[in-house]
Amino acid sequence: MENVSVDQQLSRDIFLSFKRHGNFEPIRMKEVVEKKSVPTSVRQTKERNLLPVHLNVNGKNYLLHLEPWTSVLDALREYLDLTGTKKGCDHGQCGACTVLANGRRIKSCLTLAVMYEGVTITTIEGLSAQGKLHPIQQAFMDKDAFQCGYCTPGQICSAVGLLNEGKAKTSDDVLELMSGNLCRCAAYNHILEAIMSVMENENNADPK
């Protein structure tokens, strides 16, 4: 928060405006107040470099007006109110931000929303269909694969991506291929069991 003086009251709204803006360059207090009073879907200021971005998320099409530096993660959380996907590190190191792009798992903090037009994005909110949980979601509950739950949406999306890739055969493979998702509660053993149980069910259902 370089440009906020210590004796200024930093309200939660102002803090979130800094976050929403995506950088920490000086923001005049007046500008912050104006943003607050304007709905997020309609922002028109001459200084702002807003680009129209068409995103397809969980089967719905959206038209957002975003600054180019908005990550996919921030687009999902701050502009689409899809807060299931979490911001853990914002550096691509923890995997809490994992979502599926055309069925492929990516770290949504490390890429720009403006580059994801025409891509089918699936978040944790979009994994269940017609009220039925995805097998991975069910397995995470059955196997007690989370404690605080913060890494869990990323773990689940990553696991779905892993299944889509079809490369993991053994539990060692699963550990290696899930290594991009960290869990500070160390629920790893049960996460592994949950994923293995779904893999084994898939193999039994579809013997090759």
């Binding site: 995506g22 950088n23 360059e25 470099n49 680009l51 600054e67 180019p68 530096w69 990550s71 914002d90 550096h91 691509g92 995997g95 994992t98 492929r104 798992r105 990516i106 770290k107 490390l110 890429t111 720009l112 403006v114 580059m115 990553s158 991506g161 892993l162 890739e165 490369k167 993991a168 055969k169 060692d172 493979d173 550990l175 290696e176 291929l177 899930m178 290594s179 991009g180 998702n181």
Partner: protein, 344 residues
């Protein structure tokens, strides 16, 4: 992250036009390194050009029996390509040893070459760094330099190149195809990355305004006796302290041709052609491999916290050559695995 303008290019010519001496322009593809560096305020481009629509993502066979890897092909697709796995398993294994599945899905081949060091002083804009600001000094020399280089260093910089893919590409004698306003040219892999010298702020010989279009692999017979070993503090998802890409062509119990390259120890993948020549027409036994290790590491210099890398590199070289020699069945390359139960 600073403000920037953004555009998407639909042809190489368009992309090259976006680069001008006035603007600090960066191309973006996977973004997995650039965005991270921008969040740390290490990179502060004024203008970003999306090159992902340039149709440079094909992985094809070339007429001479080699392969061409499009610069915009994703690391995952390259590693899992059946021809890459069959002809260049060393490369597939090295790619799979790097990063995490999500990052490999996003990262492109060109970007992998151009990724910058993970030296934490480079990343910390409060610390002096000659790579970030020429002349500022190097905080790693005399600092905490556990992850830093032991070969090819200079008084100005002891950073390492973090890539695994590049170590295999160096061992396989790849060529980098680039294009710029003056046309196309080919950069042999050993000339692509630079040593720090007195200009550590320049990582590679790619000129400003040039774009990598493809990486070409020459035909070769290094798909039987190969090994990639990555030694790191964690079982996965960590950069190499030391890594070794080794490949041998063995006929009638004698080495016909050898390739060996090291990662994690220098500003570029470290290839020692003298050591490779030394191995020719010799029996691939442990004594030979130790001699090779001594040759490769003969000028190694530790900086206090990374002295261990010298001995570690020697042992890893011996182990990689031994396991390359002893490989008699193809391995499944669905992910990077390393069997830690061997005893040597």
């Amino acid at each position: 992250m600073n403000r920037f303008t953004f555009t998407r290019s639909h042809s190489i010519a368009e992309a090259l036009q976006e680069v001008s001496p006035q603007n600090k322009t960066r191309f973006i593809a996977g973004g997995t390194n650039l965005i991270d560096l921008m969040r740390a305020n290490v990179e502060r481009p004024d203008h970003i050009v999306d090159i992902t629509h340039l149709n440079l993502d094909e992985i094809t066979l070339t007429a001479d029996g080699g392969m061409r890897l499009g610069a915009l092909a994703r690391n995952t697709d390259t590693a899992y390509d059946e021809n890459v796995q069959r002809r260049y398993p060393l490369l597939a294994k090295a790619i799979l040893a790097g990063a995490s599945a999500q990052l490999r899905n996003m990262a492109t081949n060109g970007g992998n070459l151009l990724q910058r060091t993970r030296c934490y002083y480079f990343y910390d804009t409060a610390m002096p760094c000659n790579k970030r600001v020429p002349g500022q000094g190097c905080a790693a020399i005399g600092g905490v330099n556990r992850i830093h280089a032991v070969l090819g260093t200079s008084a100005h910089c002891i950073a390492t190149h973090p890539s695994d893919m590049c170590v295999a590409l160096a061992a396989l004698d790849a060529n980098v195809l680039v294009t710029g306003k003056e046309g196309e040219r080919v950069i042999p892999f050993s000339d692509f990355h630079r040593l720090p010298g007195d200009k550590p702020h320049i990582d590679s010989n790619l000129q400003p305004g040039e774009l990598i279009t493809a990486i070409e692999l020459p035909p070769g017979d290094f798909n039987k006796n190969y090994q990639y070993i990555k030694v790191r503090d964690r079982r996965s998802f960590a950069f190499a302290l030391v890594s070794v890409a080794a490949a041998l062509q063995i006929e009638k119990g004698m080495i016909m041709e050898a390739r060996i390259a090291l990662g994690g120890v220098a500003h570029k993948p470290w290839r020692d052609k003298e050591a490779e020549k030394f191995m020719r027409r010799k029996t691939p036994d442990e004594a030979l491999f130790w001699s090779v290790a001594e040759i490769i590491m003969r000028e190694a210099q530790g900086f206090g916290h990374n002295d261990f890398k010298i001995e570690l590199a020697k042992r890893t070289i011996v182990r990689a050559l031994t396991e390359a020699r002893d490989r008699n069945t193809p391995e499944p390359l669905n992910c990077y695995t390393y069997n830690r139960h061997h005893h040597y």
